[in-house]
Symmetry: C2
Subunit: 236 residues, 2 copies
Amino acid sequence: MPTVSSEELAAAAGVNSAKLRKDFSYLGSYGTRGVGYDVEYLVYQISRELGLTQDWPIVMVGIGNLGAALANYGGFASRGFRVAALIDADPAMVGKPVAGIPVQYIDDLEKIIEENGVSIGVIATPAGAAQQVCDRLVAAGVTSILNFAPTVLSVPDGVDVRKVDLSIELQILAFHEQRKAGEEGGVAEAAAAAAPVPAVPATAVPPAAPVRTGGGSEQAPGRKGPDGDMPAVMPA
Amino acid sequence: MPTVSSEELAAAAGVNSAKLRKDFSYLGSYGTRGVGYDVEYLVYQISRELGLTQDWPIVMVGIGNLGAALANYGGFASRGFRVAALIDADPAMVGKPVAGIPVQYIDDLEKIIEENGVSIGVIATPAGAAQQVCDRLVAAGVTSILNFAPTVLSVPDGVDVRKVDLSIELQILAFHEQRKAGEEGGVAEAAAAAAPVPAVPATAVPPAAPVRTGGGSEQAPGRKGPDGDMPAVMPA
DNA sequence: ATATGTGAAACCCTTCACAGCT
DNA sequence: AGCTGTGAAGGGTTTCACATAT
């Protein structure tokens, strides 16, 4: 299949074809009227725009279950990410190969980052260690951090943080599940309405989990754009 | 701190106070004019609305590194989720305690789901097993699935699927990282513009990773709402 | 005096529809 | 004839600003 139309791509992706064309148009005019998009060329252009053609060395700090799972995750390598180093604070872990890469000791963190030109770090440590690790990463020159630890990280201006909270995904499912349950009844509905489930616009269910932090020295304030945060006011 | 104002909460959450008030208003009128919101009452109301006050038994299938990491993840229990069972297809895993819960064999999946009234399942299997596990979960009565396997799942109408692709988060960071790099130069900018980085509206960077699937028997088509999908057209 | 709750305005994103190119 | 690229319309969400309540 040498070429593809916006209609076909849109159907495959589950979006409107006009939106797809408009989105593509922000990258440039890579289509041919009357024909469609040259698949190979389009793939290359999108890859380049997304940074997939670059080599991104990353370091991962905290090689517990989650860290090991991430290191073994296939999706990374195929998208231009190269695990430059696995780092842990447990001397017993050091030297152990995880996903074929020997774990290094945290004392060497700065050296590793510098030598490999790493600008992206992944934190999969326990909550208590995360901020400290984060500070060291930033001081060593890392400017993007993916945080799996259940803590909000403070970073200086110019550093991007993405927080992945795995339980929020479950929470969103539970929220929908609750609504499904509420809609069943029909007759019993009114009775069960002691704690009524009011009509909530789509917004009430935020698009997704990770809270983009970036920017400010403290947390979030002022961050604009379609970030889809879960309300920050979240009872434990 | 017995009460809190929308202004304070908004600052803490990094959003506009009017938006916060409007959002809260969809849940009801839980504030007091001239005073603010009673913290305890507000927390309770939000918890109830989000389903945090309910008990949500879940099953997790596929207890590899990721499954074990999830089972150990602290955030679940504190939000009303109870791991009813860990299930794996590897007989060698069966009986082994992970996060204090013994792993059960996959043959008992249906029985486990029924006995525990489970409606939410988590799939952390390899890609190859995911669809099959998904089908069994659905057949057994599960109506919400959190999918960590790198596959798109097909589910019947009425079943919600959330897919978490951990590498997409990294990709978003890399995308920003690329832009940061592009903005440095200043003078060298024009020269390096052989492959210019065009102005892309905020939309170009989707809010977040997980692709809400739900609904249709096949994938996505027609799904509306602020889902923040990554473009589905994604080169390997 | 102070802070909520909410119409109305502003803004942004999505979709329509068609001119323009192959 | 067919499909892209895009101005304009439409729809939805965010912010403003103030009437209303304590």
